[in-house]
């Protein structure tokens, strides 16, 4: 064969050789996760419209809530301003920020997973040694994100079309636009770091910063600015700096400002170009931020210390999130409770979640319950570190040392079970700081969640103890519990179904009656599950 045989195509297209194959391959690898992300994002939007329709049934009620947003700074920080009191307008207000954040997280996970994670694992080397252009992996990753965001846009646009086609289209495209801005941002970050986990963490931090900028900007301005409520003027500069803020400035269902859309495109294109430029300047597997060397001597000496060392970073991140989230929710409690209190339907839902006493207590109880549900995710991920250590073969050499299996597992379980207590305490501290009330009852209410969280953690231990193949099913259980706790009350599901979740049995605190019975039973169940799981860990073969 001669050189000419290789030079059939122009140089430019060879940089992208194999992109189509890689894209198909990516979509195949993501055939479960991406549809779930997409479905959750779209369902969240649709269910918001439905619950708003039930709660604020009449135009008068909707106008009422929209007007109250004008004066409530803290709620504007949470959700952004209301620009229109139609069902579509309220949907865009209520869920836009969160759908955008969700699309952003989905996009960053997709991009880092198919770029830096691949390089870090060494798989990319093998792929790139085949007929694959230098730019193909990054292009395929961005296209995968584009497909996912495109489907989100399509589902949102179609399902909200009944509220007005232009608004639905703008809303869908705006959510997808935020997604693509963070996809390309992740592409840049993934060129800089050598670790996929760090790239995900940094981009996640950037999304958090975008949220905070928008929140600060929105709380600073006075109310919405459409004709209906306008006092004139536009968003604050801070909101305009944040890509998440662009979505509200697109004004879906409130006189769409289509000229905002090119902003998403421009940002995505510029960031994509930067990522390509960086990718072209570095070695495969290399980064621009070198990994710092560690100590030549170690202080770790026990399995427990190792477990703590491996999990402390994650726990720190969760803890900061719980503290900040607690403070944020605590800060809006007063206003939110007033707002909800004026509406019978909303009050009913909140009372179903949070209890029958005063509406402020009910709102606080709802928030405490939500933190409990999120902590359930923490405990599953923390318990399943055991599973990760085993399947990655890092557990094997440790267990070949003079470390009993129980002691090895106990190290991680102490972090998982104890970390839950710590997280709920931090949420309580945050809530009471934000709310500005005496902290005792709130802290107590937070701690009452712990047995329910432990029960789920115990289930994860049991599944792991039975067989490593069964362990990931704990995520399914966590998903079910989240669904029941989050959406169940709004759907008015029968009590028997809600009772599947351990959280359904907890007393509604603060405000409600303390009931030690169910709390004790849940703690007992958690203990039995953990013991059963540990017995399994002791008896079964360790896999590799």
């Amino acid at each position: 064969m001669t050189a000419a045989a290789f030079d059939v195509r122009p140089v430019g297209s060879r940089q992208l050789a194999g992109t189509a194959t890689l894209l198909r391959f990516n979509l195949r690898r993501d055939r479960v996760t991406v549809p779930v992300w997409v479905a959750v994002t779209a369902l969240m939007v649709v269910s918001t419209t439905n619950s708003l329709r039930t709660v604020y049934a009449t135009p008068a009620e909707r106008a009422d809530i929209a007007r109250q947003m004008l004066t409530n700074n803290s709620l504007r920080a949470m959700y952004g301003p209301v620009f229109d009191d139609s069902l579509g307008g309220l949907t865009a207000w209520r869920i836009g920020v969160y759908a955008a954040v969700l699309a952003g997280i989905m996009s960053l996970v997709i991009v880092v997973r198919h770029t830096r994670d691949e390089e870090e694992s060494g798989r990319q080397e093998l792929v790139s040694s085949a007929m694959v252009g230098r730019r193909a992996p990054l292009t395929a990753a961005l296209l995968t994100a584009l497909v996912a965001n495109g489907v989100v846009a399509l589902l949102v646009a179609v399902s909200l079309a009944g509220q007005g086609t232009p608004g639905a289209l703008a809303f869908g495209l705006g959510i997808a636009g935020v997604g693509m801005v963070f996809a390309t941002m992740a592409a840049i970050v993934a060129q800089l770091t050598e670790s996929g986990r760090l790239a995900k963490g940094l981009t996640g931090g950037l999304i958090g910063a975008a949220f905070v900028l928008r929140a600060a900007g929105d709380s600073a301005t006075t109310g919405g600015t459409s004709q209906a409520f306008s006092t004139g003027g536009g968003s604050s500069v801070l909101t305009w700096i944040s890509p998440i803020g662009w979505l509200e400035n697109l004004r879906p269902f409130a006189g769409e400002r289509w000229w905002v859309l090119p902003l998403f495109v421009a940002a995505a294109v510029i960031q994509g170009a930067v990522a390509y430029e960086l990718a072209g300047r570095r070695d495969i597997g290399g980064g621009f931020v070198p990994t710092r060397p560690g100590p030549a001597q170690g202080r770790l000496g026990t399995a427990g210390a190792l477990a703590w060392r491996l999990q402390r970073g994650g726990l720190l991140g969760w803890g900061l999130g719980f503290l900040a989230g607690g403070a944020a929710f605590g800060g809006v409690t007063k206003g939110a409770a007033d707002l909800v209190g004026d509406n019978d339907n909303a009050r009913e839902i909140i009372e179903r979640m949070g209890g029958q006493s005063g509406i402020t207590d009910a709102f606080l109880a709802t928030m405490v319950g939500l933190f409990g549900l999120v902590a359930a995710l923490y405990i599953v991920s923390s318990v399943l570190r055991l599973h990760g250590e085993e399947t990655s073969q890092r557990a094997e050499p440790v267990l070949a040392c003079a470390v009993g299996r129980l002691r090895w597992a106990a190290g991680h379980l102490v972090v998982a079970l104890g970390g839950t207590v710590l997280l709920m305490l931090l949420a309580g501290v945050g809530l009471s700081l934000g709310y500005g009330a005496e902290s005792g009852p709130i802290l107590g209410a937070c701690l009452i969640q712990v047995p329910a969280i432990w029960a789920l953690g115990g289930l994860a231990v049991l599944l792991y103890g039975l067989s490593p193949q069964a362990a990931p099913a704990a995520w399914g259980a966590a998903g079910l519990i989240l669904f029941l706790g989050w959406i169940g009350p709004a759907l008015d599901l029968p009590q028997a179904v809600l009772d599947i979740s351990p959280f359904g049995h907890l007393p509604k605190l603060p405000g409600g009656e303390m009931a030690w019975g169910p709390v004790g039973v849940l703690a007992g169940i958690a203990g039995v599950l953990v013991a059963g799981g540990l017995a399994g860990v002791r008896r079964r073969d360790m896999t590799s």
């Binding site: 560690g294 100590p295 170690g298 073969q393 094997e396 050499p397 267990l399 003079a402």
Partner: protein, 301 residues
């Protein structure tokens, strides 16, 4: 010399995973103080055996004693005196090599600080790098330094040198010899036959979960064929009739043949009857010995 307590005693070990019989009545005896080679084709059950010896897997049937104890029931006690190096070393991404070495050392019976420093230097390991930045060979060095510096009686090494360069292979062999001199026992699973030939006092060859050969290299050589090339003064005679002669190739007065090692004597006598001008006799290499077993494996498949 009195026979010391064996370091590892395994008899009739069975282990299946679903329908796969990984171990099918395996026997293994490792004397205290010896370096024992553990050989066999891929998938023959070496790693499964090692993982039973470490108490990570529970055998379905058969008996195993490690350092005189039951490796499943007394795992922690046994492990205090064992250092293990897996074939595929995975490290924690954000722990440095030095931290991992010290962790493993402390989780075993303890670590000899001076020996650790010496080994880090000899293996040319940078202990400050983070786990994710090490190459395969360097990850193995981390595990090897931790094992050789640990204060233990038995080293179980599962293909420990597959990623090492020849210079480091040399360092590794020196380290194993030092271990032997210090009276420690080594079970070495390896595919690098020169390494096994160089280091091992005895070897066990397993196939399909069963032990097919066990003994010193001299014993095993005895069971196989020696190659003989001779230049004779006259034409050879009678060689074809001798038992144990294979692949006989006669070209004028030049003879090449293979002979079962226990029949060598008769062949040499027959050759000297014809008058020997030159003679080379090559003992079987471990490679040949091994290939015979591997090929048997292929044939019986």
């Amino acid at each position: 010399m009195t026979k010391a307590n064996p370091a590892i005693e395994v008899s009739g070990l069975h282990k299946s995973f679903g329908k796969t019989h990984a171990l099918d009545g395996l026997d293994l005896d490792v004397e205290t103080g010896e370096v024992h080679g553990f050989l066999g084709p891929n998938g023959s059950g070496k790693s499964t055996t090692i993982r039973v010896l470490l108490g990570l897997l529970r055998a379905d049937a058969g008996a195993a004693r490690v350092l005189g104890r039951d490796p499943w029931a007394d795992a922690v006690e046994v492990h205090r005196r064992i250092a293990y190096v897996p074939g595929d070393v995975t490290l924690w991404r954000n722990l440095s090599g030095g931290e991992v070495i010290d962790l493993y050392g402390r989780l075993r019976g303890g670590l000899d600080k001076r020996r650790r420093a010496d080994l880090v230097e000899r293996f040319e390991l940078d202990p400050t790098k983070k786990g994710r930045t090490y190459s395969k060979g360097n990850r193995q060095k981390v595990a090897l330094v931790a094992a050789f510096a640990s204060d233990v009686d038995l080293l179980i090494l599962d293909e420990p040198t597959s990623g090492l360069d020849p210079l480091m292979e040399e360092v590794f062999q020196r380290c194993v010899e030092e271990e032997r001199e210090r009276g420690r026992t080594v079970l070495l699973s390896s595919h690098i036959l020169s390494e096994v030939e160089e280091l091992c006092d005895r070897v066990s060859i397993i196939r399909r979960g069963q032990t097919v050969e066990s003994g010193s290299l001299a014993d095993l050589r005895h069971l196989t064929r020696t190659s003989v090339t001779a230049e004779l003064a006259g034409p050879p005679n009678g060689l074809t009739r001798l038992p144990g002669v294979h692949d006989l190739d006669v070209r004028g007065h030049r003879v090449r043949l293979q002979v079962d090692t226990d029949q060598l004597d008769a062949v040499l006598r027959s050759l000297s009857e014809s008058g020997v001008r030159s003679l080379t006799s090559t003992p079987p290499t471990l490679e040949e010995l091994f290939l015979r077993h591997y090929q048997d494996e292929a044939v019986t498949r």
